[in-house]
């Protein structure tokens, strides 16, 4: 029997050893249990930073954050004696109430979940006092965007929950499902500045998900950093005036300060109240706006593309002067057998041709630019000439996106030789095939903001800053670097004088004299009438003022409104007046615009 005691002791030791070996495997060798333990208890709790606000150039708030209240519920603690009273208080019906409680219960019995989302401040005020009578309901304050002026909707953009593609595009993996992100407009373009930096607090939770303290004494926690405030270049009174003038019309107004490239107003009509896309009703309202046939979500100043029309003749003139193929005194007969014309003129010099918008004149001018006989082969010569011409045009910021600080800016189109090679499928082409671009028709396409920028270039006599909407980011007090760089055209400054004089002449005694002329301010402008068969023409006008010390450059597009000299010229001059002297001295012009009957 003596061996048996040893055997029994051996069994004890054996079991102890097996335990220690097994424990060595799970405690020392296997890392999975440590990760699983961390997964069990660690919950990152995001602290959302305050999103930066946006001011106009005079310090008025355009966009700020406003509190809304999520009413949270902890199903376990709910004690409601009078469900009906609570439903009335929260403005929901009883079935809604039951359903919401059930949803919360499905999520968790002991953790809070959202019962009622984004209750606005005014509704919350009356709920707040009484809600304390109901156990299990708590309040979490959040913020949404608020727009005190209902202006500038398309330039500002909006906020919405990030979608799947947004998450896929986010290579830095900053965003998480359910995060809000700026869409379109300044909100999108300056998202990285506005959003600030999220803070994360790592909390420990127990098996029910209730927070029990900081994880690792908070050594991994980060504080949230508030977003940077932006100061916009927008002049709010001017913007609102522009929006008022454009009421009931389709089109756009772009006003730029020529010396800086700062956008003073950016009107897209029709528009919408940006507040409708903030808060609870987002989905409903977004659907309504998307389905609207007038396309209020379409940001016309940057996205609508039109043929430039006769405004283009000013560019043609300056390029021809730069190329030395004409002088200001060059006279060309108005030969209407080549191309149609209008008005009563026969043999104008350059300035006269611009004032009268003489088509045959510019037909001839562009031929001189394009066919300079540098190559004996006329086809090759045309190609070389066209590409040289396009380079000049491109230096005016046409045919490519300007780089405005808004997303989705369109390029417009200025054709080059490759474009026509493709269009003609490599069959030979020469000037006679492409001459309609000479008068701003044909393939050319421009965007309203490019035309406003062009007016600014003429005002500056040859240079521009890329138009931009934000002049100061955070503490920097400066716009982005690219908006601080002066850009020159390929045309020498002296050649601009002809253009300036011609534009002055248009307002003084030409097509602009009736509705664009101001008493004490010398306005330089050019009408454009963009054909839009079978509908009425689009009314276009570009202008800057004062002539010798330009403070504002404008482009106005009014769709389906006929001659440029009517709707667009009136609106442009009213904008200039408003900006320079603060009010209009021509109420009849304002009435004319507001009445909106331009076709007669």
């Amino acid at each position: 029997m003596n061996n048996r005691k040893y055997f029994i002791q051996l069994v004890f030791i054996l079991v102890g050893s097996i335990f220690l070996i097994k424990l060595f495997f799970i405690q020392v060798l296997d890392e999975n249990y440590k990760l699983a333990a961390q997964d069990n208890v660690m919950r990152p709790i995001i602290e959302y930073p305050y999103r930066g606000v946006i001011y106009d150039r005079n310090g008025s708030l355009i966009v700020h954050n406003t509190p809304v209240y999520d009413i949270m519920v902890v199903p376990k603690e709910v004690e409601v004696t009078d469900t009906l009273a609570l439903c009335n208080l929260l403005n929901i019906d009883k079935n809604d109430f039951i359903q919401k409680i059930e949803e919360a219960r499905d999520f968790s019995f002991v953790q809070p979940s959202v019962f009622l989302k984004q209750v606005p401040n005014h509704e919350f005020a009356k709920i707040q006092d009484q809600l304390t009578n109901y156990r299990g309901f708590t309040i979490v304050a959040r913020t949404i965007r608020n727009y005190p002026n209902q202006s500038l909707a398309n330039a500002l953009g909006y906020m919405r929950e990030i979608d799947k593609t947004g998450l896929e595009k986010d290579s830095a993996k900053y965003y998480k499902q359910g995060d809000y992100i700026g869409i379109k407009g300044i909100e999108e373009y300056y998202e990285n500045y506005l959003r600030g930096k999220r803070g994360v607090k790592f909390k420990m939770v127990n098996v029910s998900g209730l927070v029990k303290g900081s994880f690792k004494s908070g050594q991994w926690d980060t504080l949230s950093i508030p977003g940077q405030d932006l100061i916009s270049t927008i002049d709010l009174p001017l913007q609102q005036y522009g929006e008022k003038l454009m009421e009931g019309k389709s089109g756009s107004i772009v006003a730029i300060e020529p010396s800086t490239g700062e956008i003073l107003s950016l009107v897209s009509a029709p528009s919408y109240d940006p507040n409708t896309l903030a808060g609870r009703e987002f989905s409903t309202n977004f659907k309504l706006l998307s389905n609207d046939t007038l396309a209020p979500l379409f940001n016309r100043p940057l996205m609508a593309q039109y043929r430039p029309g006769s405004i283009f003749k000013i560019i043609q003139a300056m390029i021809a002067l730069q190329e030395g193929v004409i002088t200001p005194n060059t006279r060309i007969p108005c030969d209407r057998s080549i191309i149609g014309c209008h008005g009563d003129h026969y043999y104008e010099n350059l300035q006269g041709a611009i004032t009268h918008s003489c088509n045959p004149y510019f037909h001839n001018v562009l031929r001189r630019v394009v066919n300079q006989k540098v190559d004996p082969d006329v086809y090759n010569d045309t190609k070389i000439g066209l590409d040289k011409w396009r380079e000049h045009v491109a230096s005016f910021g046409l045919g490519a996106s300007l780089g405005v600080d808004l997303p989705n800016e369109k390029e417009g189109l200025i054709p080059n030789s490759a474009y026509y090679d493709k269009a003609y499928r490599n069959r030979p082409w020469k000037y006679s095939n492409i001459y309609s671009i000479a008068i701003g028709e044909g393939e050319n396409l421009v965007v309203p903001i490019q035309m406003a920028n062009f007016a600014a270039i003429v005002a500056n006599r040859g240079f521009y800053y890329i138009p931009h909407l934000i002049k100061s980011i955070g503490e920097d007090n400066e716009p982005l670097q690219k908006y601080r760089e002066k850009k020159y055209t390929t045309v020498d400054p002296e050649h601009f004088n002809v253009a300036v004089e011609a534009m002055a002449q248009v307002v003084r005694s030409g097509t602009g004299q009736y509705r664009a002329k101001l008493a004490n301010i010398e306005v330089c402008g050019k009408t454009g009438t963009v054909q839009n068969d079978p509908l009425p023409d689009h009314s276009v006008f570009i202008a800057f003022a004062p002539k010798d010390d330009p403070k504002i450059a404008v482009s106005v597009y009014v769709e389906d409104a006929g001659q440029g000299a009517r709707a667009a010229a009136s609106i442009a001059s009213l904008m200039i007046e408003k900006y320079l002297i603060g009010h209009t001295e021509r109420p009849h012009i304002e009435d004319y615009v507001l009445r909106g009957k331009f076709l007669y």
């Binding site: 048996r4 102890g16 097994k22 424990l23 405690q27 699983a36 069990n40 939770v205 098996v207 029990k212």
Partner: protein, 426 residues
């Protein structure tokens, strides 16, 4: 010279020291298991398990003193009486209001008593007394029947509560019987049946029957062709073993579906495949292993554990108390505890073996065996080597009945040991 007076040298201080070490470690771990950092609690707070355990430990010291002053012959003389009283209590407890589905507790005010814990002492005493007085032989039907009755009666009553875990502990007496002469063949047969049972569970009875059939066939054939002597007898033995095996294999299905309750079936299943039900029956084992595994080599530090404190592990201060130690003290802590426990068990065997009376020796082996089975099943379940069986870790787990029962169990042995020289060997 008065020999019945207890002197300092007679007490086995090694065991006493190990006992208090385990109790102290247990107490600290109970505190760690219930500690909530947010509330700045004290280990002495009697609203916590740790504070209450301290009171229970104090009471244990009183019990120890009482045991030490009682005459050592008293335990032998009242063995059957104690057994009888406890059996009556086990009968009586069946008529109490069930708590968590089992009628295991006598409630007197806030005080709860679990007679099944104390029954271990009674059974051990009765068994020791019977061995001492009647010198039973395992070949005699009468002896086997009496031994079966002494153990079978409390097991039946505890199963009726029902409390399968506590009943299972009575299997530990097999070790005592083995020490006292039970043939290892019987034990081997018993263990094989368990192995067979588990194997059937894992691979299905039909496969097993076919495999055993083939093996038996081969053995029978080889015996037929190779040897001549006692051929018939060998074939008969082989065949009866084969029939037994097939019988067990067949019975598994019945036992699994009819005898074991659904939660017990699942506990056995998750033992072999913890992922089969990770949120249900597998939850306890998975979370228990996560808690222990996350401790690493040196642990997270006292009160720094998260898994047990935040209730991921169930029954943290009672049945799963080992998780707290594993998490906060790491493998080093496990090493210390297991070494202490094994040393403790070996010491008890050592003490048992030096007894002159059969009563004291059998009793000593009973103590060692009961503690061993608790140790093996309790730690084994927390690390996934045993199915989840709700029994405490002796001296360690929170709970008055179990702490007192184990204390009484141990110190009766130490009292007997202290007076071993006064026994005249028969």
């Amino acid at each position: 010279m008065r020999k019945d007076l207890l002197t300092y040298n007679q007490i086995d201080w090694v065991t006493v020291l190990l006992y208090f070490l385990l109790v102290l470690m247990g107490w600290l771990n109970i505190f760690a298991a219930v500690y909530d950092a947010e509330q700045n609690q004290s280990i002495f707070d009697i609203t916590l398990n740790s504070g209450r355990q301290l009171i229970l430990i104090g009471a244990s010291v009183l019990i120890i003193i009482v045991i030490m002053v009682i005459d050592f012959n008293f335990f032998s003389s009242i063995a059957y009486f104690v057994y009888g009283i406890l059996i009556l209590m086990l009968v009586g407890v069946l008529f109490t209001e069930p708590v968590a589905g089992a009628s295991s507790w006598f409630k007197i005010g806030a005080f709860k008593l679990q007679p099944s814990e104390f029954m271990k002492v009674g059974a051990s005493l009765a068994l020791a007394k019977y061995f001492n007085d009647y010198n039973p032989r395992f070949t005699k039907i009468r002896s086997v029947l009496v031994l079966f009755l002494i153990i079978g009666l409390p097991v039946a009553l505890i199963l009726a509560q029902p409390d399968t875990g506590t009943a299972l502990i009575y299997a530990s007496f097999i070790i005592v019987f083995y020490r006292e002469g039970l043939s290892p063949v019987v034990i081997g047969l018993g263990l094989s049946m368990i192995a067979l049972f588990i194997l059937t569970l894992l691979i299905g009875w039909l496969t097993l029957v076919i495999i055993t059939g083939v093996i038996i066939g081969i053995i029978v054939l080889s015996i037929l062709f190779l040897s001549g002597k006692k051929k018939v007898r060998r074939i008969l033995i082989t065949l009866s073993v084969g029939i037994l095996i097939v019988g067990v294999a067949f019975s598994v299905d019945t036992i699994i579906t009819d005898v074991l309750k659904p939660h017990q079936q699942k506990r056995i299943q998750v033992l072999f495949n913890p992922n089969s039900d990770p949120l249900g029956a597998g939850w306890n084992v998975t979370q228990s292993k996560i808690a222990i595994g996350s401790g690493g080599a040196f642990g997270k530090g006292f009160l720094q554990g998260t898994q047990t404190k935040f209730d991921f592990v169930p029954e943290q201060s009672t049945d799963f108390i080992f998780c707290t130690l594993g998490e906060e003290r790491g493998w080093l802590g496990s090493l210390v505890l297991i070494t202490l426990f094994v040393a403790f068990l070996l010491r008890i065997i050592f003490i048992a073996e030096r007894q002159k009376s059969k009563f004291a020796r059998v009793y000593g082996y009973s103590v060692a065996s009961i503690l061993f089975l608790h140790f093996m099943v309790n730690i084994g379940m927390t690390i996934g080597l045993f199915p989840v069986i709700g029994i405490p870790l002796p001296f360690f787990s929170y709970g008055g009945s179990s702490l007192w029962a184990f204390t009484i169990l141990l110190f009766i042995l130490l009292k007997l040991d202290a007076h071993r020289m006064q026994i005249l060997k028969r």
